[in-house]
Symmetry: C2
Subunit: 218 residues, 2 copies
Amino acid sequence: MFMAMAAPNPDPLAGFPAGFLDGFTSREVGKGQLLATPGQALNQVFIVRSGRLRVYLASDARELSLSILEPGDIFTTHTPTFVRGLEPASLWVIGIREFAAKLTGAPTVAPLMMKVLGRILDNAVSLVEDLAFRDVPARLARFLMRQAERRGEQGPEGCVLPLDLGTEDIACLLGTTRQSVSSLINQWQREGVLSRRGRRALLIHDLPALAARSLAQG
Amino acid sequence: MFMAMAAPNPDPLAGFPAGFLDGFTSREVGKGQLLATPGQALNQVFIVRSGRLRVYLASDARELSLSILEPGDIFTTHTPTFVRGLEPASLWVIGIREFAAKLTGAPTVAPLMMKVLGRILDNAVSLVEDLAFRDVPARLARFLMRQAERRGEQGPEGCVLPLDLGTEDIACLLGTTRQSVSSLINQWQREGVLSRRGRRALLIHDLPALAARSLAQG
DNA sequence: CCGCTTCCGTCGGCCAGCCGACACTCCGGC
DNA sequence: GCCGGAGTGTCGGCTGGCCGACGGAAGCGG
């Protein structure tokens, strides 16, 4: 559903030729620190080494997260989005011109970039689909199912999801409000579909029930 | 607002090295003919030579156009979208593997592809922004302004827009309904902002008024 | 232990805009 | 001219979900 949400990569550099990082510089981003804004002149490409970053759009009154970047993800400041540290993170950074030069120098990387960009585009399209076609319950159900696929750990009572996101954060990812997410989760809790597991984790009891809820409303 | 809506290009091949089309085959697409669907196995890259194509998403009950492709635009069937001829069109086509090989062989094309993909992504993001942040009047106003910029012709009474799209088509591009678009256009007509110019063209009298309407609602 | 801050749950009011229905206009074919 | 189909204009009813408000719970520093 969201850009650049590949499974966390144990080796962030798999797929890049040896020495590809020559010319990159290192950079730290603090929690809550702004890395990029729409329309800024500075054009850079970066690869996440550790930590998480939030990619989002903002209007006067609201924010909409497009993606959470994780180690191994590649992105650029040359987009009409904000990028902000969700927690302390460290990056490899390079200017976009130098990066392009690197690409022409190492032709095997071009298809890889196509693949990365393709995945980001797929995710953006998928977000459009959600906003245009699905109501809030379906969006939330789909989100939870994807998370279960990505990071769920099978326990005795069901699938444990370490979301590490607050209600508000989830609402931002889904293009809805804190209140709507809250009331839905509690309703499903009453219905026995899932239950809270501490402050920022969920326990899914009934995955099929979630699947059913993800289909409603054409 | 929409993918791949560059100004119509008098020479669709500007920017490609000579002989780049070697290996492409020619293909005609009839009006209303389906060229690509989500999940199809066939992966191709194509460049539009003439005519227009519609790129869109569909659910059970509704359709949402992402873009209208025009001569010079480049796209791929490897996306979770439908692509359909809006009028008779002709294309250059190549397999995606061969295309990738071409890229590594002609390294100057890689940055160009990055640029194309970047533009498509920007447009997708812009569509997300519209769906998430703007109400229908603002979306319509923005759409008309972009069209005026792209293809408007200054006449004595204002700017003439040859949209070549019906009310329903416009609604599809904006993620709304025929009825909403219709009533807005007529309301603005009554207010003197614009007027109909035959069946599928508009005459914009008051561009600033449109601009004002494009801002409403954060 | 106690205050303070942040996050979470819930309720009711309200409204943008979707939907169905129907009449009208335009246009091409014969 | 006549007919049929496609596109257009308009109206009311209905509802998903946003918004403001407020009280409760959980974490945290002292």
